[in-house]
């Protein structure tokens, strides 16, 4: 069964998508989580609820609305089209936008928890040691939130790798462009190509397990150092 050629394209697309999504989400979520951990604004609950929506919504619902807004007639899709001439739906860029929104809570929650858990004290100490607000954030808050960053990155990455519904709705399954691993497996099963499906599924199982194992091992070591 192993003499048939493996189609690596979905694997690369998946890894690329997960890596880009993770980088974008860490950059976006850090200030957002920081703001949520610090603010006393009445709108905090509103933002928190919105960030957590992808946890409870069926991916198809999110995918459906994304398809509408990112589509050529949608507000974002049409603006994008007039700017770049290209389309957002059924492209890799569209996939990235969908993944970022879908995995948002997986990046924001661990970071917000980490920032909240450290409390105000380390930051106050830094202020009495002449550190400006930005300096305090970079040299105290971020290093102390390291376990949170680790969780956020791992969860985002793993969650993006395992995505199916949103990706299918806005990306379709264009081989070489938007066909990710999970969709490739689905299609192979549909076509009764069980051996290929076995190979990809087994690989994914092993890969996901290794990621989570790494996360928990490192987290345990960070705890131990405390």
């Amino acid at each position: 069964m192993f003499d048939m050629p493996i189609n690596w394209s979905p694997v690369w697309i998946t890894l690329r998508l997960a890596t880009i999504t993770t980088i974008i989400l860490l950059l976006l979520s850090t200030p957002l989580a920081w703001w949520l951990a610090q603010t006393k604004c009445w709108c905090k609950s509103l933002i928190e609820a919105a960030v957590s929506l992808p946890l409870v919504l069926p991916p198809t619902v999110l995918g459906f609305y994304l398809l509408i807004t990112l589509g050529p007639q949608g507000p974002i899709g049409s603006a994008w089209q007039s700017l770049t001439g290209g389309s957002l739906t059924f492209t890799f860029t569209g996939l990235v936008i969908g993944s970022v929104l879908f995995s948002l809570p997986f990046a924001v929650h661990p970071l917000q928890n980490a920032f909240t858990a450290m409390g105000q004290r380390p930051l106050e100490v830094a202020a009495t040691l002449r550190a400006s607000p930005l300096d305090r954030f970079l040299t105290v808050a971020i290093p102390l939130a390291r376990p949170g960053f680790l969780s956020a990155a791992t969860l985002t990455f793993a969650h993006t790798v395992g995505e199916f519904g949103v990706v299918l709705m806005i990306g379709g399954s264009i081989p070489g462009q938007t066909q990710v691993l999970s969709i490739a497996i689905y299609e192979q099963v549909e076509m009764l190509e069980f051996q290929q499906a076995h190979l990809l599924s087994g690989g994914m199982l092993l890969f996901s397990f290794l990621i989570l194992l790494t996360l928990y091992t490192i987290n345990k070591r960070l705890d131990y150092n405390k």
Binding site: E124, V125, A127, T128, L129, R130, S132, P133, T139, L144
Partner: protein, 357 residues
């Protein structure tokens, strides 16, 4: 010019801080009061960690806050050191990096305390490469004090730095605080609610109750004011600065001289000529009308009565003058009546015990 003065009004839930104070910006000023009286809140206002409105703060002529013209210098721009109650060392940095954190952010020209000086002063050179998590409570607090000193602050704020420590660690830190006092000319505002601690290190006092200032001034003055609560506590007494003049090897005694005369205490290993602080507790002072030496007590002074107050039923507190030095005596009302004690009367004060600090 060399004063620290502030006025703050701050509402925090049920609690109101409303304070207008002034204290010399040299030596150690103890901020004293019961728990919940607003000591920490006041210290946080001084540091700019709370913004009180109206609020005003000036140190040696430099204004740090003046809300009447909307001026508020943020904490990181104030030249101050803050030692928190529980030593808050950065857990992601080594002891050395913790110490360097503030120093490296202090402009070169303002650095007056050298790294080696602070490390030596607090005896922490063996700890430099260690992880803060592996230090004892006392060690952590010493590192935190050194870290604050290394920003060469114009004002050092200490929020009960000993409160979270056990008796051994307290005893371990006290000598360093005294050295600090002598070696550096940085004014310190020190929160405490322990009278012995205050007697040990303070030069001046701010007395706080329910968010308000109820008394302030030099330590001895505040300790002996009968209208303030300190003179009525079980630990009431006076602090006397005295010079070590002689050791008596025969009787195993050490003699000290102070403005009111000579004190003897059990032989202590002190250098002749050095200055020490001793506490004479009010409950260890008894009064007599004549000086017949039919008593085992060595420390006997002629005194005149300045004030008499019945502080609780059957108990008097008496303020005495011994050639310029002050003394408190706590006796029963019955003794007071039997001796017919009056203000201005000459009496003999017998001091049963002298505690060296």
């Amino acid at each position: 010019m060399s004063t620290l003065q502030g006025r703050f009004q701050l509402q925090q839930g049920e609690f109101t801080l409303d304070i207008d104070f002034q204290t010399p910006s040299q030596g150690i000023t103890a901020l004293f009061g019961p728990s919940g009286s607003g000591k920490t809140t006041l210290l946080r206002c001084l540091a700019g960690l709370e913004r009180a409105k109206p609020g005003f703060l000036e140190i040696n002529g430099n204004c740090w806050q003046d809300e009447s013209r909307g001026f508020f210098l943020p904490t990181h721009q104030r030249s101050l050191g803050y030692v928190f109650q529980e030593a808050s060392l950065f857990s992601h940095l080594s002891v050395r990096k913790n110490l360097e954190y503030g120093q490296s952010r202090t402009p070169q020209k303002q650095r007056k305390v050298a790294f080696e000086e602070a490390v030596e002063l607090l005896g922490i050179s063996p700890l430099l490469t260690r992880n803060p998590k592996r230090l004892s409570g006392g060690e952590r607090q010493r590192v935190a004090i050194a870290r604050a000193l290394l920003t060469s602050p114009k004002l050092l704020l200490m929020d009960e730095p000993l409160a979270a420590l056990d008796a051994n660690s307290k005893a371990e830190i006290m000598p360093y605080l005294e050295k600090l006092h002598q070696a550096l000319s940085i004014p310190v505002l020190y929160i405490s609610h322990a009278i012995p601690e205050v007697m040990h290190i303070a030069d001046n006092m701010l007395l706080i109750e329910k968010g308000q200032l109820i008394g302030s001034g030099p330590l001895l003055e505040v300790l002996t004011r009968l209208d303030l609560p300190l003179s009525h506590s079980s630990e009431a007494g006076v602090v006397i600065e005295a010079t070590v003049t002689e050791h008596d090897e025969t009787f195993h005694l050490t003699y000290l001289t102070f403005s009111g005369g000579r004190l003897s205490l059990r032989r202590e290993d002190l250098a002749i000529g050095s200055t020490v602080r001793v506490v004479l507790n009010a409950r260890d002072v008894s009064l007599a009308l004549d000086n017949e030496i039919h008593s085992s007590i060595l420390n006997n002074f002629q005194a005149s009565i300045l004030e008499i107050l019945e502080e609780s039923p059957g108990q008097l507190i008496i303020k005495l003058d011994i050639s310029g030095a002050l003394l408190l005596a706590r006796i029963t009302t019955k003794s007071g009546v039997l001796l017919n004690l009056q203000i201005g009367m000459k009496v003999y004060a017998r001091v049963k015990s002298v505690a060296l600090l």
